[in-house]
């Protein structure tokens, strides 16, 4: 089976996000009001082949921990869906 994986990697709470704060300041300067708490992360999409959803999940999770994130500062949200 082929699964669509979507991973959103964000900085953990309490970790400074200079990019987010700079964007926040810039939006205000551009005249957009009321935009607060800007946080920037990355998202990764791919397809993965696996026997079943549990297997797919566990591979994606391992990929996240070993390679795609550093759990010390980042956390990941993972979504997996079978490709129709």
């Amino acid at each position: 089976m082929v699964y669509d994986a979507f991973i959103e990697v964000n900085l953990r709470e309490g970790i400074a996000d200079p990019q987010g704060s700079t964007i926040e300041k810039a939006t205000a300067n551009l005249g957009f009001e009321g935009v607060v708490n800007v946080r920037v992360g990355k998202c990764i999409r791919f397809q993965i082949e696996a026997e079943n959803e549990v297997n797919a999940s566990s591979v994606v999770q391992e990929l996240c921990d070993r390679f795609l994130t550093n759990p010390v500062i980042e956390e990941a949200i993972i979504k997996i869906q079978v490709v129709e």
């Binding site: 900085l11 309490g14 970790i15 400074a16 200079p18 700079t22 390679f67 550093n70 010390v72 500062i73």
Partner: protein, 736 residues
Amino acid sequence: MTELVHRSLGLTDEELAKIIEILGREPNHLELAMYSVMWSEHCSYKSSRIHLKRFPTEADHVLVGPGENAGVIDVGDGIAIALRIESHNHPSYIEPYQGAATGVGGIIRDIFTMGARPIAIMDPLRFGPLDDARSRWIAEGVVSGISGYGNSVGVPNVGGEIVFDQTYIGNPLVNVLCVGIMPKERLVLGQASGVGNLAVLLGSTTGRDGIGGVSVLASAGFGDEEEDAEKRPSVQVGDPFEEKRLIEGCLELLDEGLVIGIQDLGGAGLACAASETASRGGVGMDFNISAVPQRESGMQPFEIMTSESQERMLAIVTPENLEQVFSICRKWEIKSSVVGKVTSSGALRIIEDFGGEVLGEVPASSLHEDAPLYQRPISKPDDMDEATADQATKLPKPEKIEDDLFDLLISPSWVTSQYDSQLFLNTVIGPGGDAAVLRLKHPTTGIDTGRGLALTTDGNHRWCAVNPRVGAAMTVAESVLNLACVGATPQALVNCLNFGNPENPVVMWQLSEAVDGMAEACHAFQLPVIGGNVSLYNESQGTNIDPTPVVGVIGLIDELTAVPPGLSWNEGDRIILLGPEANGLCGSAWAFQKGHRRGSLEMMDFDLHQRVCELTRDLVAKSLVTGLHDVSSGGLGVCAAEMAIHSGIGCTLARIPDHISFFSESPSRVLVAVNSEVIPEVEELVTQYDVPHARIGLAHGDTFTVKNLLSVSVPDLQKKWNSRLVDALDGGTAQG
């Protein structure tokens, strides 16, 4: 309650007793937190300070010696140079990118704090072996962090080191050196004076970053959930854009004469900056904790005072200048707030709003001047005699010496091409030479003095593992010789002492020996030590790293009108080896490659080394050599191979009878390539300086041949040299 808490903060019972004696009462949590960070090893140097006193620190041209944020020397033409090196080893192990990035940020602040514009950084790096996945992940992350921060903040990276060895597998070393330049009159010190003057906090907001150690107070003192304490991030994130604006803003404040003293916020954050500026100026300070701009809500006073949030500075200004200070800060989009007032009391009082409740009060000077000093027990390793007797020359001779040579070749360019090495149009020799060479331009007028600055960093854990005293001396000697190879005379040294756990008497012995060896060499070369940094507890799972003192040395070139010769030779050049005969293999890269990590080293001949350096400088100044390279890591074999690689021209060498003379790393040797027409002149100089020498070969063709030893093609050498790091690190790395 305090009784229970102080130990979890890392304070001993004796240290607590001392605090009680100073205050004449029990400290509260806030005060205890401040003492615990200020009296930590990192801030107080309590284990190493008594040893550091043995360094020579004075010379006529030294304007500021150890103890300030950076050392400063006078280089003539009204120009002063600030220099400092620091480690960010532990943070880089946990989060390589940010650990290294914030290391760069920190050292740069130390430099512009003195009034100097940072003009170059260097990054001596050490990681576990390339076949270890986690070490590769760390190396990759550290290099990207240095690149990401350094390039963006706009300070060129002109050199460093990259070493891979088993000893760093659980504890990489990330040292960063920074050089700054200023008109002499702009020199400022981190001190507060003038009762009624104001302390202005500049830069980033304060969050809970890097309060790791004292976060225990949250659960101990205020009833928070323990989990909360765990969630507190001890990882700091660097913001090079904020730092860039701080550099420009602070230098403008100094140029306009608006600042009495200025201090960066590093380890121990506001507690350190407030107490140090006050105590250096012999005054006190009322510190308004409510005025500190905070990134997170609900921060406790001890968190605000000890947070290590990055990119912040504390400036002392008069009330009359305040408006102007704010206006420059607005221009550079720097947040600025008045957080303190200079008082005459000598006390650092932490208050809630000026005139509000006093949350803590300690004598400002007690936080650092009264920090404990330890004479920790020292002892030689038990197996010293046995280890000394185990000579590497007894190892079997290599069957295929070319394979051993290939294993020692490693090009740093995978690393160095990721660094902007050219910004400011000063870089005459960037990463890749024996030493970096920069044009010396006047910092205000921009006028080229026609002279040059030269910089090198060196460390050698292998020599120091075998004999820390001799190894440290040889490290200094190598630096001095690296500078001579670009025609520079050394002016001052900074060091970063990376050692293991100081509570281990053998580690303290290594430290003490290394300090003695370094001091001896500095005396011999008349080189003042103007600053340094000590990084202890470099250990993992009970194993200490090999002792790794790293030095950074700055030199001057009197006349920089052409690019110094560099590492390549021309077809037909004669190859001459200057310096004494090779002697032994202990501590060499070759021996370590064979797993042989002990033995003995003889103390070097400083006098001969000086003559070799003087001769080398003279040869370069008189343009008598086409190319040259000092013999260091990997010995004569690697030295000659690197010259062949750089020039794309081979050579035939003789008088290198065996693998011992090929791989020996004994000191004070330089390989020079000379056009045959100037041989007589060169030999006359050599005789004049009374330096032993040998004509050992000829540069030609495209094979690298050592008679009776090996013959390999230069393209093969180049391929091995170039591909090592690319193959190991380019495919994406994982944490393992």
